[in-house]
Amino acid sequence: MHRTYFTTTSAVGTPDVSAAVALPSGKATLPTGLFINNKFVPAVGGETFQTVNPSTEEVICAVSSAQAADVDLAVAAARQAFKTTWGKHCPGTERGKLMFKLADLMEEQAQVLAEVEALDNGKPVKIARDFDIGDSVACLRYYAGWADKIHGQTIETNDLQKLAYTKHEPIGVCGQIIPWNYPIQMWAWKVAPALACGCTIVMKPSELTPLTALMLCELIVQAGFPPGVINCVPGIGSVAGHALTYHLDVDKVAFTGSTLTGRKIMEAAAKSNLKKVTLELGGKSPNLVFESADLDQAANWCLLGITYNMGQDCTAGSRVYVQDTIYDTFLQLLIKKFEQVKVGDPYDEKTFNGPLVSKGQFEKVLGFIDEGKKAGAKVITGGGRQGTKGYFVKPTIFANVTPNMRIVKEEIFGPVLSLASFKTEEEAISLANATTYGLGAGLHSNDAKQCMRVSGALEAGTVWVNQYNLLNNNVPFGGFKQSGIGRELGQYALDNYTAVKAVHFNYGEELEWPPV
């Protein structure tokens, strides 16, 4: 049975920074304020926005909406912590210990967190708990282990009187802007490496899914992080996100979201203080099925690739290209399996697909489906809304597509697949790479040499061979081309949050004057 999990922040329970919510495991009081210096506070001007349950289309509650003035306060808190209780003032082993504690707390609260994730985002509780949260706990632990292993180098120079070495120092105050598709998991991907490296954080969760980010802030207090190390400012992208990316005292911004917004982030960085930028953006990732593939398995992976998380995944395998010799067989497999996808109530443990996250996304995806139909593509299965309440969309396959259709070129971010055939390996590679994106790609083949050749030729940051969608916390992830800049996960993510200082320590060379 669920216990109330908050214990320490005095502000929670106050009406303007908390809300009562009914969950399957019982009534809960959720924090809804901005989280600054380990306390929940209303926005200075009292602004709020509403967050909606996409299964019922009803408002869940109001959440404080950070304005520029609130972002200033959060950044100031983060800067103060960086100068005093965090950064170089807290040994890596200590940072790691706090992160391990946070992971333990998240694991203990997995059920409640999953229920709120399902309420706010629409994803099924079972998947939120076992995958999103399970992987997030593991991500925190992975980076907690790195915290005291951030090594620089000592470098032999030809100078016998100099000691040259590098230090990998924390960059400083980091702005982090995360999307709505994996609220908890994207929070973990951002927070974990930043904390491990000694940075402090001002995080802006998506205005569509702010609730679990704020719940995690309560765990931060319980874990014992000093005030100001992590701050959370829910708000509207064009207001809070804008303030954060233009802020002159933010040293680095990390953003996950659409390529369109990614451009704005980079522009803001350029125009403000040239803050370092890493971006995880969109994708239109191809899955190639060759004739030697295990077709049943390939179909399973391709389906996972487009229906997992209702297709709301930056690496969604939204274009599947099938070798012509096996096209018909494969199509039949796909159809049969598509129709096995259970779309329904996220609180049902058997549900695989919940609703899309919001009205806006719902209308966008349905709009693409209409576009596809109008452009002459053929709906093989699905093709519209499911039910009459909630933003549920039927998993949809389009065949007879051509490369210049919008449904083939643009990121839909829903359970909508474009299916086409190819003859040769060269053609497959060419079709796969014909995109400005480059986030993920998959290929299915039992020909080892083909697997080597094709994986080498695909222009994507992650290539899956005889698999799709599955990531590991210790393997890096990120985009080629317009899918992003930089890598998350693995050891590589540490580079995003460290500034390399080279020290030339002269202990014996004397300089004559004048030198010439």
């Binding site: 082993t93 391990f100 992975y142 916390n473 320590f505 202990y507």
Partner: protein
């Protein structure tokens, strides 16, 4: 069935609780009698009295343990378990050590004779820290992909070796256990470990924690036993592919020989030292005195890296000697359970006799005793902190490792003079330089033949910083990322993409 050891700690020990653990050999997750049903007596060095009997492991038990470790490696450990899971179990073990810290510290003080408060604040705390540190490495064992040319895809895998043998000493029983378990388990190896017959108790208590943490049976096997039997069986075993030993240089040689004669198992050795501690005339004298005392008297001089040869620059020699002598006299020698004690007894009668033998030889060879030189008290293996001056480089007390609270102090003139004197030993474990001139400190540090050089401190270790010996002080490095290399086999995989057959 092996007996359970029960003991109640009482005043003056700050921990007033009980301990209860099985005294058997720990194989495949269970406690067993030794195959010959013999026992070893464990003594309390504070009073020379027997604490308890424990099961004695035998070469036959080593075979049984290796079989269990091999099975575990093939089925429930190694690469059958992802690194994140290995890490999770190590982190659990670290948490459990911390949870039972006071009990473990009391056991260590009882068995080894070190002060309870030091065992708690240093030994137990650092043991948990080392295990936790390696828990963090477990899912970060990375090889490389390496560019050759377009016809080839080449990469390396850092694989666990398999069953590894580990032999640990008596000076830091729990702490040395953590140095061995951490990197071996993180990289996916299974273990057959022999504790010292003088100090087996804290490891026996940890066996139950290993089960509680959730390690599959057979992953860690711990045998109490003698070096000549169990230790030799491990070093000679045809199915152990790697041995890690910490102990004397003398025994280290026999381990390496056994490795060569058996199956050429990989060997890493952490051996003895006669480490120089160099005090320049511009050192902060007060700090240098305190660090120097700590450098030799910590753990009753029973540290492989003890700063047992102190060199003081001529100009400040007299001042240093006077301050050092006064400081040494403030170190409290006594009952390890007393929270104020700094120095307890030496670990055993044998060590006591050996150290007293060296003190006698120092006196006979004409060295001068500044302070100490006698037994402390009349019960237990206590020796007074002892300082020799007016020594010559060829004296036994200057050349040989004493492993007790005995330091020799010499003068030196300048940098070149001291480098020669400091390096004039076949050991090379550690060294220290005290100076406020950074140029001088770094230049001297660069020229010292030692695996660890401390500048303006002594005897500070951290889980992240490697430790090991130059010359006859050892082979390989422990601690830090470097230790992982001891427990991995590098496999290069070269995939031909397009090169035609010859």
């Amino acid at each position: 069935m092996p007996a359970t050891f029960n003991y109640t700690f009482d005043a003056p020990c700050p921990y007033k609780g009980t301990t209860s653990f099985n005294t058997g050999i720990f194989i495949d997750g269970k406690f067993h009698d030794g195959s010959e049903k013999k026992t070893i007596e464990v003594f309390n060095p504070s009073n020379g009295k027997k604490i308890t009997d424990i099961s004695e492991g035998t070469p036959a038990d080593v075979d049984t343990a290796v079989a269990a470790a091999h099975r575990a490696f093939q089925t429930s450990w190694g690469l059958k378990v992802p690194g994140s899971e290995r890490g999770r179990l190590l982190l659990r073990l670290a948490d459990l050590i911390e949870k039972n810290a006071e009990e473990l510290a009391a056991i260590e003080a009882l068995d080894n004779g070190k002060a309870y408060s030091i065992a708690l604040d240093f030994d137990v705390a650092q043991s948990a820290a080392v295990i936790r540190y390696y828990g963090g490495w477990a899912d970060k064992i990375q090889g490389k992909t390496i560019e050759v040319d377009e016809t080839k895809f080449a990469y390396t895998l850092h694989e666990p070796i398999g069953v590894v043998g580990q032999i640990i000493p008596w000076n830091f029983p729990l702490y040395m256990l953590s140095w061995k378990l951490g990197p071996a388990l993180a990289t996916g190896n299974t273990i057959v470990l022999k504790t010292s017959e003088f100090t087996p108790l804290s490891a026996l208590r940890v066996c139950a924690l290993i089960n509680e943490a959730g390690f599959p049976p057979g992953v860690v096997n711990i045998l109490s036993g003698y070096g000549a039997t169990v230790g030799a069986a491990i070093a000679n075993h045809m199915h152990i592919e790697k041995v890690a030993f910490t102990g004397s240089t003398l025994v280290g040689r026999s381990i390496l020989k056994a490795a060569a004669n058996s199956n050429l198992k990989k060997a890493t050795l952490e051996l003895g030292g006669k480490s120089p501690n160099i005090i320049f005339d511009d050192a902060n004298l007060d700090d240098a005195v305190k660090w120097t005392a700590f450098g030799i008297m910590f753990n009753h001089g029973q540290c492989c890296c003890a700063g047992s040869r102190v060199f003081v620059q001529e100009r400040i020699y007299d001042k240093f000697i006077s301050a050092f002598s006064a400081h040494i006299k403030t170190l409290k020698v006594g009952n390890p359970m007393d929270p104020d004690t700094f120095q307890g007894p030496q670990v055993s009668q044998i060590q006591y006799d050996r150290i007293m033998g060296y003190i006698k030889s120092g006196k006979e060879e004409g060295a001068k005793i500044l302070t100490g030189g006698e037994r402390h008290g009349s019960e237990g293996y206590f020796i007074q902190p002892t300082v020799f001056t007016d020594v010559k480089p060829d004296m036994k007390i200057v050349k040989e490792e004493i492993f007790g609270p005995v330091v020799v102090i010499q003068k030196f003139k300048d940098e070149d003079d001291i480098i020669h004197m400091a390096n004039d030993t076949f050991y090379g474990l550690a060294a220290a330089v005290f100076s406020r001139d950074i140029s001088r400190a770094l230049t001297v540090a660069n020229r010292l033949q030692a695996g660890t050089v401390w500048v303006n401190c002594y005897n500070k270790l951290h889980p992240q910083v490697p430790f090991g010996g130059y010359k006859q002080s050892g082979i390989g490095r422990e601690l830090g990322e470097y230790a992982l290399a001891n427990y991995t086999n590098i496999k290069s995989v070269q995939i031909n993409l397009a090169a035609p057959a010859p």
